[in-house]
Symmetry: C2
């Protein structure tokens, strides 16, 4: 993908794990969170897809001009897996993470930053 200025890596990928807090199970809310995460991290949406499982769990992604954001919830584990993978010099993935913390209010967080395409 065209990423503007040539940097030493193609993009930053945040591997985010939330435990406890609010486990959001409303598919419309997850859609709105994905769209807002893309916006606050200064990424551009190319399309969103959400699926609600029976009896529980929601999975969704937003494809970005700058890569992708995904959210998968496991209510039975009090666990939510989020990925923010964004390229381009304008992307602000940590602003997306800050917004997600406000929405999910996790009790425990682990974040791993991976530079992709180094």
């Amino acid at each position: 993908m065209a990423t503007g200025r040539k940097t030493e890596y193609a993009g930053i990928h945040l591997i985010i794990e939330f435990w406890g807090g609010k486990i959001i199970e409303d598919a419309k809310k997850i859609r709105s969170i994905l769209i807002k995460t893309a916006k606050v991290s200064r990424n551009t949406s190319l399309g969103v897809k959400i699926h609600k499982f029976v009896p529980y769990g929601v999975t969704g992604f937003i494809l970005l001009a700058e890569s992708h954001i995904s959210i998968h919830t496991w209510p039975e584990r009090n666990y939510v897996a989020v990925d923010i993978f964004s390229c381009g010099r304008n992307s602000q993935p940590y602003k997306g993470l800050d917004y997600l913390k406000k929405e999910f209010q996790p009790e425990k967080i682990r974040v791993q930053e991976i530079k992709r395409g180094v």
Copy 2:
């Protein structure tokens, strides 16, 4: 998401980096590769989204009942970023990786396995 047997982690996430080889720029082909990767890794598709950039680069995502697979290409870097994130005891993410190697024929590969939700 409901993952069957309770394991010590929610899912396996393969962070895959390909350099060189075939940089596939055909959006239909990327769609077909995503669907086949899901199939050979014994995952179930919930929907696919592909976007072709101008002048170059293709980005795509397949949402799975078992999480997701993404492909983002950077022809200007001879680089392709792939993620296979799958949960469930039947998933075979490394079979998906083997298939992707055949399609992209990379000259150099890096694979990082992350256990999510440990």
